[in-house]
Symmetry: C2
């Protein structure tokens, strides 16, 4: 714990509770943390019961449990389904963290922990917003349903089937998705479009077993060379993805949309400072905000093969592997991506190489109606709290569940959360700006109040 | 231990002693094994004392100790310096070993262990050859000096300075280097030329820290992409290394040498079976035996970056790395290689990328006189034991010490050892063919007897 006074916007009791939530290492991708993921779900159930929610239940899935709860005493007022995820990403590289990734160390205005921003912090702010409504003696202004999952960071694999099986129970007018952020502490924003995601793992094998590179090098294929050539061939000199048909279904950006994206303040200097890069780089003829928000990308997320320890080993390895993912925009279909990657590999890899492609996850992107009454309620709540109207943004990240809600339940999601772009999510030293999070508590309460005034079943037009 | 009768060529007592030697995990590149490396040196000292050697000493170096010993009672007969190394390569990938890498499991005619072939097995056979001479009641037929190092697998870094500092003590007529093998159990061979080695580690960094690939991917450089492109650019479609000046000093193969190399029996089927490759591949216009023995190569020995765990992590990593090594032929100079690799990287890597190149080791190659009396003594001893005269081979591996002996002490080395090409050295399930090793015991004794008959200071012509 840092010196008293740090994180000042946040009362000590609230901070202690947030740190308790962050302390549970709910890393969904690592089997050894399955118990921690469950403990986190149970922690949430206890909080929801404390807030007077009914039917608080853990639903088992083949992976991690789904938390459900309802409060349906608002008559014919709108029903808001709160979506969130309580799982987090792995913490490696651990040695780059300045404090333990589950310590919730507070330095200045920030709390540092895996999940502080993505997205335990946001879920926590929402719970505090509900607490504020309850403590004000108000009945909740809308009907509430909760759907909190523990497998978002690994692709929300079992959520679509859960939605199919519970369509009636999940019926709602709008989804409040807290897995979101604002542009800056003084600049509110609402994301109205998200990219899809397709995540793969490729293994290339050229040999039966590792060999001595001096005795056999130069006579048979080195799988690292083969893999490097394939990865290098995936982009051209203009930063475009070279996989045939990759751009076939991409909906072109129209002038209105490019203008809207152009409104997002962008500083090259800030972007370089935030990333530590020496230069901007990306697909030719697009701006940085278009590249990360509105254009599809392909990135290699990991690579490994051969000797990676200290010192020297003269090995010719048998195999080499890479993890790679694509971010997809309307109207690309994730399910097409595996086929076209496979085709690319078939034509690019030498015919005498053994290879295996595994698909880890496929999630569609989504674009929401920027002018619906729910979107307006969110914009108004943000404007009231921040003193200016929010930017409307397309975002580079992927929240496949937004598309699932559109497809399965026929409802849009309002992306309302209080992460900041430089929170370092998925990396070391992930953090959350506490004053912004505390502001979010009020925004959540205000948003629900405003939605409560919309009356029954307002439509999107 | 496998069923009795396995490894039949080797008496149980001898086998037990060999397994004791193999059991000490003398992995020189891993600091946690430094104590094991020393224990192995001490094990050898005890054996040398048992064989009646004088002045058995451990010489400290900044890395691992050098074992020295002498027996100088053969008057004006030739002095043979026995060179060997008692360190071994790391054992990863551990899960691909069928038995513990230090268990010395015997299956059929083979003993399986790290170092069984490279080269504890060979050193052991030499000790047994000396024991045979001693047990026959003979004085040793030549003067003997021992120089056994513990850092060969990491580049023999401190050996040249040790040679400089001990030039007189190491003076000899010829070096017997046991770090060698034969072509097949029924085909003896002598390696008369070795390739040099230059080993590097490259790190490419494009970001200050790991980032979320959805939020930042497509806007800044991915270091894995940058690394893959650089690695892919190191070879052309004809399998030639593209680094400028790489081939500048390569001595062209003349017709006599190509004919000699052509005499080595080569079976494409056996080569594919031995490597598990689906096809031969390499520099155009050269045969496989030329590619691995007489032409320089560049191989990536390891690559890593980003997320390499189970499952999916959507990270844009800050850095990516590779280990790479070059095998060099006459008259390439290892010390030129760092410069030309650096120049290649400077022109190939984008200017806005941070990179760092470390040199792990540089070792020259060597070509020996195929017609010296010592070479003839070795050839005759092999012919006597195997019933046919040996092939003379150029080899792809690197034994930099051979060049050091030429440069520092002015003597050639006789590469006489009993490893086989498919022993899997440096990989999992390294093994040694026990009948061939036992045959080697007799060859070593016979070789020394034959050298003893050459009289004082025979010259190489």
């Amino acid at each position: 714990m840092s010196e008293s006074g740090a994180g000042g916007a946040c009362p000590p009791k609230v901070l202690a509770e947030l740190r308790e939530f962050l302390a549970i290492p709910s890393v969904s991708t690592l089997p050894e943390h399955a118990g921690d993921v469950r403990r986190t779900a149970e922690w949430l159930c206890a909080r929801l019961r404390g807030l007077g929610m009914d039917a608080v239940t853990l639903h088992e899935t083949p992976l991690h449990p789904i938390v459900r709860a309802d409060w349906l005493k608002a008559g014919d007022r709108p029903t808001v389904l709160v979506y969130g995820h309580y799982d987090v990403q792995p913490v490696d590289p651990l040695n780059e963290w300045a404090s333990g990734p589950f310590d919730g160390d507070v330095r200045g205005d920030f709390i540092y922990a895996r999940g502080a921003s993505d997205m335990k912090g946001q879920l926590f702010a929402l719970l505090k917003g509900l607490e504020a409504l309850r403590d004000a003696g108000e009945a909740y202004p809308v009907n509430l349903k909760f759907l909190l999952e523990g497998a978002e960071e690994i692709g929300s694999q079992h959520l679509p089937e859960f939605m199919d099986a519970n369509r009636d129970a999940l019926a709602c007018d709008v989804v409040l998705n807290c897995d979101a952020g604002v542009h800056a502490p003084d600049t509110p924003s609402i994301v109205y479009a998200l990219r899809g995601l397709a995540y793969f793992e490729l293994e290339v094998r050229t040999l039966g077993h590792d060999l001595h590179s001096g005795l056999f090098g130069g006579s048979v294929r080195n799988p690292i060379h083969v893999l490097a050539e394939a990865l290098a061939a995936m982009h051209d000199a203009d930063g475009r993805v070279t996989l045939p048909r990759f751009y076939d279904r991409v909906r072109p950006l129209d002038a209105e949309e490019r203008a809207l994206i152009g409104e997002t303040p962008f500083s090259k200097r800030d972007w370089l400072a935030m990333t530590g890069a020496a230069a901007l780089q990306g697909e030719k003829s697009y701006t940085t905000m278009e590249r990360v928000g509105a254009r599809p990308t392909l990135e290699v997320n990991g690579v490994w093969g051969g000797f990676t320890g200290q010192g020297a080993k003269t090995v010719l390895p048998a195999r080499a592997s890479a993890k790679l993912s694509m971010r997809l925009v309307p109207d690309q279909r994730p399910e097409d991506m595996e086929d076209l990657l496979r085709e690319f590999l078939e034509t690019t890899l030498p015919g005498d190489v053994f290879w295996d492609l595994k698909c880890h996850s496929l999630g569609p992107g989504a674009v929401m109606n920027r002018k619906s009454p729910f979107m307006c309620a969110a914009a108004d709540a943000l404007e009231a709290a921040f003193g200016k109207s929010p930017l409307f943004k397309r975002e580079g990240g992927s929240v496949p569940v937004v598309a699932f809600f559109q497809q399965k339940l026929g409802v849009d999601s309002i992306m309302l959360g209080f992460a900041l772009p430089d929170d370092g999510i998925h990396g070391p030293n992930e953090r959350q700006h506490l004053p912004t999070l505390m502001r979010g508590v009020g925004v959540y309460a205000d948003f629900l109040r405003r939605v409560g005034t919309l009356g029954a079943r307002p439509t999107g037009d």
